[in-house]
């Protein structure tokens, strides 16, 4: 019986129950209010609907809380209970093995129980079903009881001079605030989780070794010197900015100062399409088209140099995946990040400055170079910073086209690895949350987060100052 409860489809039940509670609460409140109206001609402060909303609110609040707690913690709770009941033999298993065993149990339970030959597994599965069945039943019962309690409490409040609308509006405002606060919660969640895991990592590997060590070998052994990763990230972002900075800036200048309104209207969205293409598509393009091209060019340079006798050894590494290929494509990807914001700030430069320059007899290019660009410089710098931050945090292009080897080399045709590549490499596939190998990914993530945050904060501050200056 309890086992069968374990197979209740909780997702649907919870949703249905919540919908039921809301509709019931609303009708209860509204009917009660209307009864008053019909019976005695009282003058109500709030309309009947608001009394309905009020009661529904009181019914929903506790049930929703219970449901949320259930959704978030039920699996952990059942696993914990089951874990404490498992015989001694299981505790010799490593944590990860135990976890995957429990997940297999949960999977079997989901498909309606286990009917195979493994008796221990069958017993564990049925016990799992019993436990989760009782938990489910208890949750549902608690939800129903709390809904009844909440509705009953709120129903008693319904009265002619009860200010239901104000209460409902206050509740709604609190809800709106909660939604806005999710943004803060996300940041706090990011910082907390990265910090927590990083501290666990730094308990095993000294911070200085991580930041200044030059040997990175996280996959196989325990060498966690992340300097080569920082170097690779920096190098590829630099190549990207060599492409994106001039092209983005000149495109912005052309669009805002030279192009006709018509051209501008069509060109700007086209340019911004570059930012809308998924990065995995850029990665594929880099891997398939650009990387072989870079390799061929590097091989050509090699044989040229050998032929004219400058060197006898191949000068460039000419790897199948290379920093240059990833950097070039990433540069194309961040062009719109430079051009869009630069375009905005150039447009924000007051027309009077331009007119004054023209009146002095300056040509257009002189006006741009000597008046507009200096005036717009802070904003342009900010756009570059945002683009750099985007390039540093970009993942898929480098994962697909930059390579896996951690090293410090200034040869652009060699394969370099970046922070993001290593995070992906460390966290895909089998992950154990205790090994320094996995934890190092979070330390890398923390560095990435802090660096990009720094760039963003500076850029946003600069833009804000700049806006204030001209508004």
């Amino acid at each position: 019986m309890v086992q069968q409860l374990g197979q209740l489809p909780m997702g649907w039940l919870l949703t249905a129950l919540l919908v039921f509670v809301v509709t019931t609460g609303f009708s209860v409140g509204r009917i009660r209010a209307e009864r008053y109206l019909v019976s005695g001609g009282h003058k109500f402060h709030s309309r009947g609907n608001y009394h309905g909303y009020y009661v529904a609110m009181w019914g929903l609040l506790p049930t929703l809380l219970i449901a949320a707690v259930y959704v978030l913690f039920s699996q952990t709770a059942v696993f914990g209970l089951l874990n404490s009941e498992l015989p001694e033999g299981f505790h010799t298993l490593s944590k990860a093995e135990l976890q995957s065993y429990l997940e297999a149990v949960a999977g079997a339970a989901k498909t309606g129980g286990y009917a195979g030959a493994d008796r221990i597994f069958a017993t564990v599965t049925s016990r799992f079903l019993e436990l989760s069945g009782s938990l489910k039943a208890a949750t549902l019962a608690a939800m129903i009881l709390s809904a009844i309690g909440g509705i009953a409490y709120a129903r008693r409040k319904v009265a002619p001079d009860f200010r239901a609308r104000l209460k409902v509006e206050r509740g709604a405002e609190a809800f709106l605030f909660l939604c806005a606060a999710i943004a803060i919660a996300t940041t706090v969640g990011i910082v907390a989780s990265l910090l927590y895991e990083s501290l666990r990592f730094f308990a095993q590997v000294p911070v200085t070794d991580f930041l200044f060590g030059t040997r990175w070998n996280a996959q196989t052994s325990a060498e966690f010197g992340a300097l080569p990763l920082f170097f690779g990230t920096f190098m590829i972002a630099l190549i990207a900015m060599f492409v994106a900075a001039p092209i983005g800036l000149f495109a912005a200048i052309y669009l805002s100062e030279y192009a006709s309104v018509r051209t501008r209207r069509y060109m700007k969205p086209l340019l911004e399409m570059l930012a809308g293409i998924p990065t995995v598509v850029y990665g594929f393009f880099a891997l398939l088209v650009i990387a072989p091209g870079v390799r061929a060019a590097a091989l050509g340079i090699n044989s040229l140099l050998i032929n004219i006798g400058v060197t006898s050894e191949p000068f460039l590494a000419a790897q199948p995946t290379s920093a240059l290929a990833a950097g070039l494509v990433m540069g194309v990807m961040v062009i719109p990040f430079v051009s869009s914001l630069s375009d905005d700030v150039i447009n924000a430069v007051p027309q009077t400055l331009r007119d004054a320059a023209f009146a002095m007899g300056a040509t257009k290019s002189e006006t741009i170079k000597q008046i507009i660009l200096p005036a717009a410089l802070p904003g342009i710098v900010a756009s570059m910073l945002l683009a750099v931050s985007r390039a540093i945090g970009e993942t898929m292009i480098v994962v697909m086209a930059a390579g896996q080897r951690a090293r410090i080399s200034f040869d652009p045709s060699t394969d370099l690895t970046t922070i993001t590549v290593q995070i992906v490499a460390l966290l895909t596939g089998e992950t154990q949350f205790d090994s320094p190998k996995t934890l190092s990914a979070f330390a890398l993530g923390l560095v990435l987060f802090l660096v990009t945050l720094g760039f963003n904060l500076i850029a946003l501050r600069v833009v804000q100052r700049y806006r204030e200056k001209y508004e």
């Binding site: 709106l176 989780s193 000149f250």
Partner: protein, 521 residues
């Protein structure tokens, strides 16, 4: 008459300087144009390169033949359950292979030849047939028409993409005679083009293979003399070659360096000329799920996975983002907390997406124990990722509604909440929606966070709920792009085209919404 007096501005020097300045102006303008041109060229180049690659996956080659579903092979013990029938892939495979093999009576019956022949069609290719028979057991014993994809090597060869092959024709002047040991001799053939090609290729490590085909027969050049050319018959008879113009094919890569053997090429060519192997639209790309064999793989599971993920993302991010925007724009008191929230949102918009993946891996998978690889988790992570985008767009939409609307509502006695929800929100809604769709488009293309929460697993079943194991379109692109076989390239490009098409549709909706509801106050 004299010229007007030269002023200092018209002197030779001044005019020269003016010319130089105008030239500089022109150059500067050209730089801008060049930059814009480069950006647009990159866009066009990217899209054409991918579309061109994808064009190779629009069609593929299948074997279409009639086979008799003999009960001995399919259900040996007479009364098999559907599961047993489905599991008996070997039986179905043997039926198909033997049917094809029977067309080549001269091929010999050695184990090596049979193994070579088996590589034309992969075993798992008959799985849909097995499932069909398991569903309709009445088919056993009857003749059915089956359509199974040929293996990726054969498909690539027949599409002439790998190994490369060059076609040629032989004029009708040549005389045909039978040689010894299954060979035939052409006297005075016009093989100038073949000679030219072979000389151009030169000696690599091995010689290119030259085939001639006619009806169902294929022969390979074994000796090219001055006057005669000797061909070794690989499929069919000498008689098949008589009286028809000969078509030929030079496969430039030597046999030792390719994955498809000369015999397989001969069989494939023969089957194609008989119409058994034919080129059909590659619909299975949309109707099948992932596979380790490129010709059997499809993107259905990933499409459904993406849709489920988007469902979760949309249900969380859109209402939450809109409500957050309403609070910040309409209700927030100007204090430190709201200022903090504002800075926060702007910063979150620029946090690398992979960091959100880390958050999902620790918080949702680790702390809350939600299932790995599930669209639920992927959707939540992406919802957090696009939340700032939705909020920023929704605030802009709210700001675009003039204050007179609010004042009007307040003046007739509405509460602030009523003014916002009854009057401002309906007017701002189209704008909010466009922002939301753009956010969803961004989420649809995100890959990195999904990798970290394990949505990169190989998924062979179409997910049916948001807690099933699933993958998503961009992740499928990533995992297919990391496969080694050449055949995956066009497939990957085709999936990219599907993804881009979805994104284009979303953007078109945005443009249409803007056109319809755009309003200047």
């Amino acid at each position: 008459m004299s010229n007007p007096p030269e002023t200092s501005l018209q002197s030779e020097k001044a005019l020269k300087r003016l010319r130089r300045r105008r030239a500089a102006d022109m150059r500067f303008r050209m730089y801008g144009l060049a930059a814009l041109g480069f950006a647009l060229f990159s866009l066009v180049f990217l899209i054409t390169a991918i579309a061109w690659k994808a064009s190779g996956a629009v069609t593929y080659h299948v074997v279409k033949t009639d086979i008799v579903l003999t009960p001995e092979r399919i259900a040996p013990d007479g009364n098999a359950s559907p599961e047993e029938i489905t599991r008996n892939i070997e039986g179905f495979y043997t039926l198909v292979r033997d049917d094809l093999f029977a067309r080549f009576p001269n091929a010999g019956d050695s184990l090596a030849v049979r193994q070579d022949f088996s590589a034309l069609v992969d075993r798992l290719a008959v799985l849909p047939l097995a499932r069909r028979v398991a569903r309709h057991p009445s088919l056993i014993g009857q003749t059915v028409t089956v359509e199974v994809p040929v293996s990726d090597d054969v498909d690539l060869f027949l599409k002439r993409s790998s190994p490369r092959s060059v076609p040629f024709r032989i004029g009708t002047g040549a005389q045909l005679s039978s040689g010894q040991d299954d060979s035939m001799v052409l006297t005075q053939p016009d093989l100038a083009s073949v000679r030219a090609t072979l000389t151009a290729l030169g000696e690599q490590d091995g010689v290119p293979s030259v085939f001639v085909t006619s009806k169902g027969a294929v022969a390979r050049l074994s000796d090219l003399g001055d006057q005669t050319a000797t061909f070794e018959l690989l499929a069919g008879d000498v008689a098949d070659f008589e009286g028809t113009p000969l078509k030929g094919l030079i496969v430039t890569v030597p046999e030792s360096r390719r994955t498809i053997s000369d015999l397989q090429i001969a069989w494939a060519l023969a089957l194609r000329s008989e119409g058994v192997i034919r080129r059909v639209p590659h619909t299975s790309l949309l109707t099948r799920t992932d596979s380790t064999y490129p010709e059997l793989a499809g993107s259905l599971a990933a499409i459904v996975g993406s849709l489920l993920t988007m469902l979760v993302t949309g249900m969380v991010a859109i209402p939450m983002g809109i409500f957050a925007a309403i609070f910040l724009e309409e209700f927030a008191p100007k204090n430190r907390l709201t200022q903090l929230i504002e800075v926060n949102i702007n910063n979150l918009a620029a946090v690398p997406s992979i960091v959100f993946g880390l958050l999902g891996a620790t918080l949702l998978l680790g702390t809350f124990g939600l299932p790995r690889s599930a669209p639920l988790v992927g959707g939540l992570v992406l919802a957090l990722l696009i939340l700032p985008v939705v909020i920023i767009a929704a605030r802009a939409a709210l700001r675009a509604v003039p204050p007179s609307i609010r004042s009007g509502a307040l003046a007739v006695g509405a509460s602030r909440m009523q003014a916002v929800f009854h009057h401002v929100l309906p007017l701002a809604f189209p704008g909010m929606l466009t922002g939301a769709i753009l956010g969803m488009a961004r989420a649809l293309g995100e890959t990195a966070p999904l990798l970290l929460i394990g949505m990169v697993a190989f998924v062979a079943e179409v997910p049916s709920s948001t807690t099933d194991e699933a993958t998503a379109l961009p992740v499928l692109i990533y995992s297919w792009a990391s496969n080694a076989e050449r055949a995956w390239e066009p497939m990957t490009a085709a999936v990219i085209v599907i993804l881009l098409a979805l994104l284009v549709i979303m953007n078109v909706i945005v443009v249409m919404l803007r056109r319809k509801f755009e309003r200047r106050w």
